[in-house]
Subunit: 458 residues, 2 copies
């Protein structure tokens, strides 16, 4: 009888809370779905500013633009957090080719579509010419370590197509891009070519950060487009003896100055307790950085604009952060956590969007079981906007330092992943490949989550 009484009593309260919350979330959605700001902001960032690697003039432009955009969206204040960032430049047009003797004894040469990996050393104008050896894994590299000396190693590790979630395929293969050069250099390789991390049907190479391991010789490294990979495979499968030539011009200049741009809505009740939302402002140099991570930036600014437009002033301080240098150093992320510590801020939650502006599926949460159980009760509120796929495990590169330093609960937006690796770090990451309504739905789900965390705490 008591239980029944409690149920009768509790249900209406819960319903009221949910109704009130769903009404506010609907107001957010209605506001964002008719807003022209996301289109305009993404257009400016991609078409007027373009690719913006840490240290580049475009990144400086992007910082100034971001500062103004946060102000105009209604931030109580905007802070620039200065940090030192790596300054890698591509330095020229990357080129590669392979030569082999055809059946009639004539030498054939095939051009390859390549992009030097970020942070890599260049071959310079003299280039690197050497026999090309194909390996399909680090295991194979180890087995054949005596064959590697003086050669260019071609890592041909297929991007797994049967993983429905494409980030699994990336997670499995990215190590070849990240440290493949050093692993091969250890055995005397003079350069590496890496199969691009994609299942796109085009031939665009996909660049990305490489990290040289200490005390191993730094050698040039480039990603190869997939259709060219297929041609190479055919040659290898026919036992052709291949010589490759690679020309890259990468150069790591001294560290330079970059900034996180932080827009703030000051909390009315808990000004020293911070909720963070952000994306990263930098991108690779070869594209417009639309999906990676222009969309996260535009969503972050749009959420601020919508909160202000609806007259919503949070109880906790909210930081809308455009992070510096995610792509090849995550120095902005570290700086943000260090500043939080220096300012004695209490960071109660952080959310990042760095998986594209595709239609939202949900969030991944890096939180305790207690927090997870609380958040999970909000799930139905996200169903109308497609973001109710809550999974455990999450966060993102720019907010992980907060999580590590303060055990801050973190989450990453989970958009649909099918299109992400079509454009990731390739020339095809442009404005036209973004659907603005999908981007907006991501922002709506993110805003809803921030609102609920602010209202109910964690």
């Amino acid at each position: 009888m008591k239980k029944i009484f409690l149920l009768v009593f509790l249900v209406p309260i819960f319903s009221f809370a949910q109704t009130s919350d769903s009404a506010f979330i609907k107001a957010i959605a209605d506001n964002i779905l008719v807003s022209r700001m996301p289109y305009n902001n993404l257009h400016t960032l991609t078409k007027k500013i373009g690719g913006r690697l840490a240290g580049s003039p475009q990144m400086v432009k992007a910082e100034a633009w971001g500062y103004k955009a946060l102000q105009e969206a209604g931030a109580d204040k905007v802070i620039m957090q200065q940090c030192m960032v790596p300054h890698w430049v591509r330095g020229g047009k990357d080129m590669a080719s392979v030569s082999y003797k055809s059946a009639n004894g004539k030498t054939q040469t095939m051009q390859l579509n390549v992009l030097a990996l970020g942070n890599s050393v260049g071959s310079g104008v003299k280039g690197v010419q050497a026999p090309l050896i194909r390996v399909n894994s680090f295991d194979e590299l180890e087995k054949r370590k005596d064959e590697i000396k003086g050669k260019i190693v071609f890592y041909n590790v297929p991007f797994e197509e049967t993983f429905v979630q494409t980030f699994q395929a990336y997670g499995k293969n990215v190590v070849y891009r990240a440290i493949g050069a050093s692993r091969a250099a250890k055995y005397g390789a003079v350069a590496v070519l890496v199969r691009s991390m994609t299942h796109a049907m085009d031939n665009n190479p996909h660049t990305g950060a490489l990290y040289y391991l200490d005390s191993i010789k730094q050698i040039p490294a480039a990603a190869v487009g997939l259709r060219d990979v297929e041609k190479l495979d055919t040659l290898f499968d026919n036992n052709m003896v291949l010589t490759a030539a690679l020309f890259t011009y990468g150069n790591m200049l001294p560290d330079t100055i970059g900034h996180n741009i932080v827009g703030e809505l000051t909390g009315t009740e808990f000004p020293n307790e911070v909720i963070t939302v952000g994306g990263h402002l930098d991108s690779w140099d070869v594209n417009e950085g639309a999906t990676d991570d222009g969309t996260g930036i535009v969503q972050t600014i749009e959420i601020l604009r919508a909160f202000k437009a609806l007259g919503y002033q949070p109880k906790h301080t909210m930081h809308f952060v455009l992070f510096a240098n995610e792509e090849n150093g995550t120095r902005g992320a570290k700086k943000y956590a260090e500043e939080a510590k220096a300012n004695n801020e209490k960071h109660i939650f952080a959310l990042e969007s760095d998986a594209g502006g595709f239609t939202p599926r949900g969030f991944g949460f890096g939180v305790s079981d207690t927090v997870w159980n609380k958040i999970y009760t909000w799930r139905n509120l996200f169903e109308p906007y497609g973001g109710d796929g809550f999974v455990k495990g999450g966060g993102d590169a720019d907010i992980d330092p907060l999580h590590e330093m303060f055990n801050t609960p973190v989450a990453g937006l989970r958009p649909d992943t099918q299109r992400y690796f079509d454009v990731h770090h390739a020339v095809s990451d442009v404005f036209e490949a973004v659907n603005i309504r999908e981007l907006k739905l991501g922002a709506i789900n993110m805003a809803a989550l921030l609102y609920l965390v602010d209202k109910y705490g964690l």
Copy 2:
């Protein structure tokens, strides 16, 4: 006690069934995710054959291609069901302009990006010139019916942006395209312009079928691109007096011959009980018919191929149907139901994909409560492939006659809807706007549903 016994007893059986089913569905997924056939088929259909309106030479080509594709995918037999289809031709390049006097008294003329609506009569080379009147609804048309005579009516009904599910916006507005011409002609309008059914940011007009109401004069009709709509709005809002000129050349020729192409896997246990899956082979003339409905066609063929590749012969007969003439007559759909009746087939389930090859969200079911309750228990099996969003209400134009005639349970694939109206019936509905992995995931979810219906019945 008995209840507990039952639970203990039932759970393992259920788990075993689910495990076995999930394993088979995983096998389907693994097979389709690495298949090159969807890419190749969609490429051929869109790039080699192209737009294929009923009665067009391209549609004849598409039928021959579809017949062969179903054979090659492994159909036990392929049947061509002949039916008479409407034969509308565009007849020329649609053009429109508006003229008005600017502040300095000079006449300004602005070209509009237009497409004649399907089935509409043409103005011919003389065109139609008349004052342009803007109405925002049929209600406004009725209120201003005395102003309509001798004018061109411009239906400017905004495509609702706050509906998260974009088909709701289409459902609300499509009546203006379908019968707006007749409604205006009733009051003496000489032509109509209709705001395109889209929230795309480009200026492509979106055509689609118009139906003239009996005994009302048939007048020319065209869709206008959205950016031009905005310009017209500005002119109207500034009280400019506008004269429009419209040149269209549409012509409805006598009915001609078309065909449904039906690939069959003959049922091992219930050969006279039929499960249907399909899409429509026809498309509009102005694009490649990639999303509408090349993707549904390619999915249908791919499911057949995967079943054969896995050695799966269904218990019930399965029909893989490429329907004729969905766009401007649904004569193929009617023919298919008539043939089912004539052949005394029992149709136990029908599934259509005609909402694009976008990442799947689930299915809409037009089924009884009993069937719904059964199907709903399968839902978790779809979760790994994103298709677990089961909702009531569904079916599609090509399978609705089956539902009406035999009360056959029907379902439509529910892909994500955000991008659909960017390309729907516009020149932008091309191969490049389709992501093949998203298309494949749709096929995987569809194949899983067909498999479960075949195994467990409905």
